[in-house]
Amino acid sequence: MLLAGMTLLAASIATGPEPGSRIPAFSLPDQTGQTRDFASLKGPKGLVLVFFRSADW
């Protein structure tokens, strides 16, 4: 979006499923220990799913 040329670096990182394709199924515990999958997380229009580095550092 910003400065031209930055996209040149994009090749060096992996960004997973491309637009149009389905994400892999998953099932993980949340902060309360409850197991969640996509169906239990999504809203009426879908889900914003964020991968972040860590809450620990």
Partner: protein
């Protein structure tokens, strides 16, 4: 967490928010409590889901305590679980913030400064790529300059005229200039002035200037931020305008950006919960 602030805006648009990291449930519980996070934080302890998505950061040594982290990024998924958009940070690129995603996904406007400045020959609108920021975050500061018909200003590199310049300096925030990158100057048009036989680089009509600002951390952030969490960045835009017949005196116009700074979390999870090196 910026995402917590924006999760209500996503929900209004029918999208729930969830976040995945390689942290344990205990770490996430502590983090959610300290940061008042109400959306689900999912624990991918063994990085299995991170691997299944194909976004494990492989450039990290396997013996490092940090091994197992993903390339950070965000997917917008429809009802069926298909990706409609994704936003990944590229190294050195500005951090993708929730407000960026709102802006790109839903056309929410970037925050404009309350005061657009109008000079004699042009008008300037200030905006930024995010209205909320945390320490260490990078965001874009943007000046959109609309010149009056027939007016041109001089691009950097011109001889004999004052080129446009945009300085961000002290201002209220008293920040050293190292927090601002140089301006990305657009390509100028070469204008031939028949009357004097000169060819000069100029900008006409409209001009969009972008530079990156790194929000400072720690002590500097505290000094630069008001008690209400507002940070004001001040600077000046200088130019010399000419039309077909006349060159006017150089002008200096103040420009101003206002950001809301979110409290930076410097507190770590308790020692007992931290991931052990080599784990």
């Amino acid at each position: 967490m910026e995402l917590q602030v924006h999760s209500a805006e996503f929900r209004k648009r029918g999208l729930n928010v969830a976040a995945i990291s390689y942290d344990s449930v205990a770490v996430l519980r502590d983090f959610a409590r300290r940061r008042n996070i109400s959306f689900p934080l999912l624990s991918d302890d063994q990085s299995r889901v991170i691997r299944a998505f194909g976004i494990l950061n492989e450039s990290i040594e396997k013996t490092s305590s940090v091994f197992g982290v993903p390339y950070p990024g965000t997917y917008v998924l429809n009802q069926a679980g298909a990706v409609t958009a994704k936003y990944f940070e590229v190294e050195y690129e500005e951090r993708v913030t929730a407000s960026d995603i709102l802006a790109r996904q839903f056309g929410a406007q970037p925050a404009a400064s309350p005061s657009g400045a109008t000079g004699k020959h042009l008008s300037i609108t200030e905006s930024s790529s995010a209205r909320m920021a945390i320490g260490g975050q990078k965001l874009a500061l943007i000046l959109t300059i609309e010149m009056q018909p027939g007016i041109h200003v001089y691009a950097p590199g011109v001889q004999g005229y004052k080129p446009v310049s945009w300085e961000m300096s002290a201002g209220q925030a008293k920040l050293p200039t190292r927090f601002f990158t140089a301006v990305a100057w657009p390509k100028a048009r070469m204008l031939h002035l028949k009357a004097i036989g000169e060819t000069v680089p100029v900008y006409e009509k409209s001009l969009r200037l972008v530079r990156e600002f790194t929000v400072p951390s720690n002590q500097l952030l505290r000094e630069a931020t008001g008690p209400d969490g507002r940070m004001t960045l001040e600077g000046v835009f200088r130019y010399q305008a000419c039309d077909a017949t006349t060159c006017y005196n150089p002008e200096t116009i103040p420009v101003r950006f206002e950001l809301q700074v979110l409290r930076h979390d410097t507190e770590r999870v308790p020692e007992a919960l931290r991931r052990k090196t080599g784990g």
